[in-house]
Structure formats: structure tokens, C-alpha cells
Amino acid sequence: MSKTIMVVDDSSAVRTVVGTALKGAGYDVIEACDGKDALSKVNGKKIHLIVSDVNMPNMDGITFVKEIKKLPEHKFVPICMLTTESEQSKMAEGKAAGAKAWIVKPFQPPKLLDAVSKLVMP
């Protein structure tokens, strides 16, 4: 059974690149364009990993993490945040909220796949 990864990012380019890379590696992918969209899509699904941007409209990444941690059926899902150097301060906040894995942008798909497979093998 392949593992499901949810990709949350407001940039469709990022979603496409990340999504394609993950699918290529053998994961199932659910895409969402922001935290709100993501929360509306998690219901009733088994999700093995969430890869989320920090800075997004509607609901930012940190809030999304806090919300996800409130849902009994998803509160233990590993979360990997995509961040830029300038968002370092967000990292502490995010870690406190429960997102332990961080990838600093810009990254190449191999780097992302590497990080992802440390958390969930395909």
C-alpha cells in the first residue's frame, strides 16, 4: 500500500514540481493550496505525511499545523515545513506547534525526496 502525502502550498508551480517528484517516487499525493483548503481535504483519509509551506493566504502553515494537531485522526501525522532563510523566526514557532522537519528553500526535488523518505518510506 503506497503512502499518502499531502502537499500544501499556494504556488501551483511548487505543488506541481513537488507532486510530480513524490508521485515519481511512489507516493500518493493530495494537493491543497492553503491551510484552509488542506483542512477541508483531510477528512476520512489516512495521511502519512504533510509537506506544507509556511507563508500562505487564508490560513498560514503554522496555524494549519496547530489545527491539524487538534484532529484526533491526524494529530500524530509527521509534518515537514518548507521555509526560506528569512522565515527563521517562524521555525521555532512551528516546532513548538509540532512540525519538527524543516526544509529550507530553494531546494531541488532530490533534496525533498531525501527528507521525505527519512520520515516516510514510500
Partner: protein, 732 residues
């Protein structure tokens, strides 16, 4: 030959890496404590091994692995580089090079001699891996690498597996970080040889929080990965976890430290380590005994404030900091290196093709400009001038692409000097200057052999044995200097030694014996020295292994001649010899001065043109048919037309209707006048080498096609003067 692009890349990469291995080793002799160099050395060999593995070159992998392991110990400060080890590494590098070539040629196998040598090298390297006590007894503890402050002269563990101790933080499960993910990832970079799941921390069933993690793992991993890679596996949990990673063959103190620092009882961890085969029982017992002894001593020591455990932990902390600092530094240098080395690889063929085309472009542009001038179109002249200016820039840039620093070629001689001097029992220092002087890659490739010959000649025949030198009141250590410098469109390379100098008597007697000169010839010192470049001349009393390979100085001269260069020798008896080689920077394009003699056009390299003056037999400057007075200086001259038997000109040469000009050329300080009819000005020109048929032709270095399609000869000033002189001698 077509080659798989992967293999082609491997070929180039391994060649480059092996080159740098040699450089690094020789540099390390000068700065043995340079950790960056040691790291680089290790990385280079490691990369070769890794790539060889990709192609299944098992012979390369297994031998390289052995060398890499020893270098790894060097990098970890466990052994120290000495003369023996450097020689062993250099020999191993040569053997790897053989193995790589063999593998690239489809693995026909090495010859017996090389095979035997490989086995011996492998064993010799093994000495540094197994026979560690012996090796380490030679190491002065004070000289140890600072990143290993607590390492003393005791034992290393034989296990070649990594040992990883993990104690996961209680929150990891809640954060979705299941330890199994990391362990599974670990399996992708190595083989888990053994794993022990520790649940000693698991509280009583009633007291446990089922969402907390209480587990620890002791893992033996067989992996070629670097420590950073293994650490990287746990990057997302490192903040919450206790992670210890011990490299293969770690020092036993590291294990003691590990045992002490883990929360479980010492014996428990000790048992796991012996059970999984990391430590032998004896090693563990010895280690713990040493520990106890120290403890007793410490207890006896009045005023000792800290129990040993704390001391060890403190030391451990210090160590982590030191290691971290070292790592940071290493990372910085890696980043910097990467920036510096941003370059792309282009095949020499493509480059030649481009330079050829640029050559044609230069001609076409010159033609356009000439046509524009003829048509007298004002705007057109302006645009073509701008165009040719750009073309000129393109030409310079294109040629620059092929310019390479001569330093790499020079540094190759470090190894030669090291080995030759050792073989001969001489002590010789090599001093390199001007390594950053650039010249055309093609010229560099072609000059390497003649240079090698001259260097070996100096080492072998020039510099004396230490005793002889002492007797003469010279320092026992001889010096060989390689120097490169740009000089008016040429590069001048000098090889000078402070040896015995050339023996005039020996040269003369040999020259007489070989019939090169007659007894009544009265030769100047310079002329005598020059005799050594005559074919079949060798003054060495005994033919040695080093330079007496039947190749004489005449071959050196011929090679240099072929590059439009010139070699000179200057020697002071008892004080040393200096060879200087003057070479053009590039063989492809020259700035020329276009002239016309009768119906024919000639191009004279502009670098060599000093000035142009009008020639009149009836003026004050006229001396005779061979010399004129150039502002008080006697200037010899030749008539190009006569020299090339231009019938047209010969018949008109005395005819004053023909206007004549003298072009004063200067080559290596020697001025010579060339008489031509018309001066057509500066002209950039692409040298088209003459075919084999014209190879023997003296005074001409090539041809070029003019804008109007006419062929112009390019004058080789140096050989032209020689030709003129011989012709002169023959006449008189």
C-alpha cells in the same frame, strides 16, 4: 573513439582527482598539519572509489578502499603522515591510476609485475590498518590532531562498522516521527549489521505514557557513507534525541566515553557491544580496567574536585565543540572551493574548432575593412572598424579559453624531484615561481616533455652529491628553480640549478670526438655550451637510469624549435646552469606586420617588429651590404627577396627605382633588419600550418590567406636569421 558519456566523465574526473592526489600529497610534505588538505585527499580517493563502484570496477574499488581506509585514519588524526606513508600513498596513487586505465580499457588485466606491486602495496597499506600499536608508538602524543584531545597511545577497535547509539526523545512519536522511519532510511545508506532495541527506560506499565517514546537503539552499520550523511538521517530528531556516532575503527576511548555517557548501566552497554562484535571481551575488560585504575588514582589524589565521570563528560563536551568548529570550518572551505571551481568542461576538439572559426572570422573581418577602405565609404569604414574591434575582442577571449596556468605542469615536477633526488641520494629543493603564468594548452602539452628532460638533466648531472657540495663549501641541499614569466608576447621558462655547471673541457673533447668541431675552431663560451644541443651529444660519464635514456639535448631543442621557441643555456662552472626556453604564447593566431616584397606578401610577427625605417644606400646610415648604422648601433640586415630567391627582386635590387624599407626586428634581444619593398601595416593573422612537404623549409613558420585570397608567408624571424647567417658563411 566513442565512449559512454558516463565513462568519459569518469575518465576525466578520475584523471583530475589522481592529479590532485599527487599535488596534495606533495603539498602535505610541506604542511603536514593542514587538515583541509587531508580532507581533500580523502575526498578525492573516496570519490574515485565511489565512481568506480558505479561502473563495477571491482579491482579499483577494492584497492582504493584500502588506500582510503588508511587516509581515513590519517584524517581522523589516528596516524600521522611521514615519509614512508607519503611514498606509499604516492605509489598507491600510481597503482590506482593503472587500475583505472585497465578498467577503462575493458579490463585486460595488469601485467605480472604491476599485479605483484599491487599486492605488496595493499599489504603495506594494511600495515597501517592492523598493526596499529606499532605505528602509533611512533606518534608523539603532543602532535596529535587537536580534534582528538583525549586520544592517547592505546588501542583502536578492529571493527570496521559504524556504531550508532540512539536514545529517542519522549516526544518523537507525538510529533509523527516514528523511529522506524529513520532506521529504514538508514538501511538505504548502509547495512544494519546488528541492532539492539533497548527498552530499559520503559516505565512500569501503569506509569507509562503510551504516546511517549522510551526506546533506544544500539546499531552497527556497515556503510561507506560519511559521518555527515549518517548524522543527516537523524536531522529532524537531533534536537530531541541523544545520538552518538562512532566511525569504524574508532579509538577505544571513544567507546568508553560512549558507555559512560549512556543512561544505561556501563556493563549493559558493554555487553551489547561485545555481543554484537564491536568490542572483543578482552578489549572491553582492558578498557574498564584502565578506567578503574584511573578512578583509584583520582580518588587518591587529594583536592580532586570532580569524579572521573564528570571529567570525562566535560572532556566530551570540549571535544564536541572542537569537532563542531572543525566541521564548520571544513564546510566553509568546501563552499568556497565549490564557488572557486565553478567551471564547465569543454572538449579540446570543440575549442579548437571554435578557435579555427574565430580565425576565419578575423580574416573575413580584415577583408571587409579593407574593402570598405577601398570603397571609401565613410559610414562603412566606421562600422567595419567597430566590427573588427569586436572581432579582436572575440579573438582574445577565444584564445584565452585555451590559456592554462603553467603551474600544474610545474607542480608535476615536485614528484619527479622528490623521487629522483631520493634515488640518487641527493637532497634537492624545488622552488617554483610564476606558476600562474598562462599559455596555450597546446603549447603546455608539448613543452612538458622537453621540460621534464631538462629538469632530470639538472637533477642527474647538474646538482652534485651532498658530500661533494659540502667539500666545495656549498650547502648540502641543492636547489632547482623553475620560473615562468611573460616577455613581449612570449613566455620565458627557466630551469636553473646551483650545481656544478657545464664542463667546457668535457664538452670540447666530446665535440671533437664526435667530429662536431675541428681542433682549430675558436669558440666562445656560449658557443661551447650550445654544443650540447647538437645531435648525438651526451657528456654524462655513465648512462644513468634517469636522463640517459638515449635521448639527448638535441631532441629537446628540436621539440622547442617545433613550437617556434628557442632554448638557451647559460652556465657558470661550479655555480650552476640555467636553461631558458622562450616560447610563443599561442600557436594559433599572431598579430602580424604585412609587407610586400616584389609580388609576394610576407607577414612578420608584430611582437618582433621594433621599428621601420627607410633604406637608402646613399644615406649616412649605410655601412655595407650587410650592415647599416642604426643611431650608432651596427644593425645586420638581410634582403628578404634575395633570401627567398625572388628573381623579380634580385634583378631589381640595385635599381634605385624600387623603394626599400628596413623592418628592424628584435628577437631575444638580438636586432636584425629585414629589407622589404612595401609596408602594408598591422595585420591580424591566423597561422595555417604548412603541410608536411614544407616542413624542412627554414625561415617560414606558416602561411595565411589574405582578404583578397592571396597567400602570404609568415616569417619565422629566428630561423630566418639563422638561415641568413649560414648562407653568409657559405658565401664567405
Amino acid at each position: 573513439m566513442d565512449m559512454d558519456p558516463g565513462l568519459q566523465a569518469f575518465k576525466e574526473e578520475s584523471h583530475e582527482l589522481l592529479g590532485s592526489v599527487e599535488d596534495i600529497l606533495l603539498q602535505l610534505e610541506a604542511e603536514p598539519d593542514n587538515n583541509d588538505l587531508v580532507n581533500e585527499l580523502f575526498r578525492a580517493v573516496h570519490t574515485i572509489k565511489g565512481a568506480s563502484g558505479l561502473f563495477g570496477f571491482d579491482d579499483v574499488v577494492s584497492f582504493t578502499h584500502q588506500a582510503e581506509s588508511v587516509m581515513g585514519r590519517l584524517r581522523d588524526g589516528e596516524i600521522k603522515l611521514n615519509d614512508t606513508l607519503t611514498t606509499l600513498f604516492l605509489d598507491s596513487r600510481d597503482h590506482i591510476s593503472l587500475l583505472v586505465d585497465d578498467a577503462l580499457n575493458g579490463s585486460p588485466g595488469l601485467n605480472e609485475e604491476s599485479k605483484a606491486k599491487g599486492v605488496k602495496l595493499h599489504d603495506d597499506l594494511g600495515q597501517f590498518l592492523n598493526n596499529q600499536e606499532e605505528e602509533e608508538s611512533q606518534i608523539d602524543a603532543t602532535e596529535m590532531d587537536i580534534s582528538n584531545p583525549i586520544v592517547d597511545d592505546s588501542k583502536h577497535i578492529a571493527s570496521d562498522n559504524w556504531h550508532i547509539s540512539l536514545r529517542f526523545g519522549q516526544d518523537v512519536l507525538r510529533m509523527g516521527m516514528d523511529p522506524q522511519s529513520f532506521l529504514r532510511y538508514l538501511q538505504t545508506i548502509g547495512d544494519i549489521v546488528s541492532l539492539t532495541t533497548l527498552y530499559d527506560d520503559l516505565p512500569d506499565a501503569h506509569d507509562m505514557d503510551p504516546e511517549s517514546c522510551y526506546l533506544g537503539f544500539e546499531i552497527d552499520l556497515k556503510s561507506e557513507a560519511r559521518k555527515e550523511d549518517i548524522e543527516g538521517v537523524f536531522e529532524f530528531v537531533q534536537e530531541d534525541c541523544v545520538i552518538h556516532i562512532l566511525p569504524p575503527n574508532s579509538h577505544i576511548d571513544r567507546y568508553i566515553e560512549l558507555i559512560k555517557s549512556l543512561p544505561e548501566e556501563d556493563l549493559r552497554i558493554g555487553d551489547i557491544l561485545t555481543m554484537t562484535g564491536v568490542l572483543t571481551k578482552r578489549e572491553l575488560e582492558e578498557a574498564l580496567a584502565v578506567q578503574n585504575e584511573e578512578r583509584q588514582q583520582d580518588d587518591g589524589h587529594i583536592g580532586k574536585e570532580h569524579p572521573l565521570g564528570e571529567v570525562v563528560v566535560e572532556q566530551g563536551v570540549v571535544e564536541t565543540k572542537v569537532v563542531q568548529a572543525a566541521l564548520d570550518k571544513q564546510q566553509q572551505t568546501t563552499v568556497k572551493k565549490a564557488e572557486e571551481k565553478q567551471s564547465i568542461r569543454v572538449s579540446a576538439e570543440k575549442l579548437s574548432e571554435m578557435i579555427n572559426l574565430v580565425g576565419e572570422l578575423v580574416i573575413a573581418s580584415a577583408n571587409t575593412e579593407a574593402t570598405a577602405r577601398q570603397a571609401e565609404g565613410g559610414d562603412l569604414i566606421e562600422t567595419t572598424a567597430a566590427l573588427s574591434h569586436l572581432v579582436e575582442e572575440i579573438r582574445d577571449t577565444a584564445l584565452n579559453l585555451r590559456m592554462v596556468e603553467i603551474g600544474t605542469t610545474f607542480s608535476r615536477f615536485r614528484r619527479v624531484v622528490r623521487e629522483v633526488s631520493r634515488n640518487l641520494g641527493k637532497d634537492i629543493d624545488l622552488i617554483i615561481n610564476g606558476g600562474d603564468t598562462e599559455l596555450d594548452k597546446i603549447v603546455i602539452d608539448k613543452i612538458a616533455d622537453p621540460l621534464m628532460h631538462l629538469v632530470r638533466n639538472s637533477l642527474d648531472h647538474g646538482i652534485e652529491m651532498p658530500e661533494q657540495r659540502r667539500e666545495k663549501g656549498k650547502p648540502a641541499k641543492g636547489t632547482l628553480k623553475l620560473n615562468a614569466v611573460h616577455d613581449s608576447g612570449s613566455i620565458v621558462i627557466t630551469i636553473s640549478d646551483d650545481g656544478n655547471g657545464l664542463s667546457k673541457e668535457k664538452i670540447l673533447s666530446k665535440a671533437l670526438e664526435r667530429g662536431l668541431i675541428k681542433p682549430d675552431h675558436n669558440l666562445s663560451d656560449k658557443e661551447i655550451n650550445k654544443l650540447i644541443f647538437e645531435p648525438g651529444f651526451s657528456t654524462a660519464d655513465a648512462v644513468t637510469d634517469i636522463s640517459g635514456r638515449g635521448v639527448g639535448m638535441d631532441v629537446v631543442r628540436r621539440n622547442i624549435d617545433a613550437l617556434r621557441g628557442q632554448v638557451d643555456v647559460d652556465s657558470t662552472p661550479g655555480a650552476g646552469t640555467t636553461f631558458s626556453i622562450r616560447l610563443p604564447l599561442t600557436l594559433a593566431i599572431i598579430d602580424g606586420f604585412l609587407t610586400r616584397v616584389g609580388q609576394n606578401s610576407y607577414v612578420i610577427p608584430l611582437d618582433m617588429v621594433d621599428e621601420c625605417i627607410e633604406y637608402q644606400t646613399d644615406s649616412d646610415t649605410y655601412i655595407d651590404s650587410n650592415f647599416i648604422n642604426l643611431r650608432g648601433e651596427v644593425l645586420p640586415y638581410v634582403r628578404l627577396g634575395e633570401l627567398f630567391n625572388d628573381a623579380d627582386i634580385v634583378s631589381h635590387s640595385d635599381n634605385k627605382l624600387n623603394k626599400e624599407n628596413i623592418i628592424v626586428t628584435n628577437y631575444a634581444g638580438k636586432k636584425t633588419g629585414l629589407i622589404v619593398n612595401e609596408l602594408l601595416g598591422e595585420y591580424q593573422t591566423v597561422i595555417k600550418p604548412l603541410g608536411d612537404v614544407f616542413k624542412g623549409l627554414k625561415g617560414i613558420s606558416g602561411a595565411t590567406i589574405l582578404g583578397n585570397g592571396e597567400v602570404a608567408m609568415i616569417i619565422d624571424v629566428q630561423s630566418l636569421i639563422q638561415v641568413a647567417q649560414t648562407a653568409d658563411v657559405a658565401v664567405h
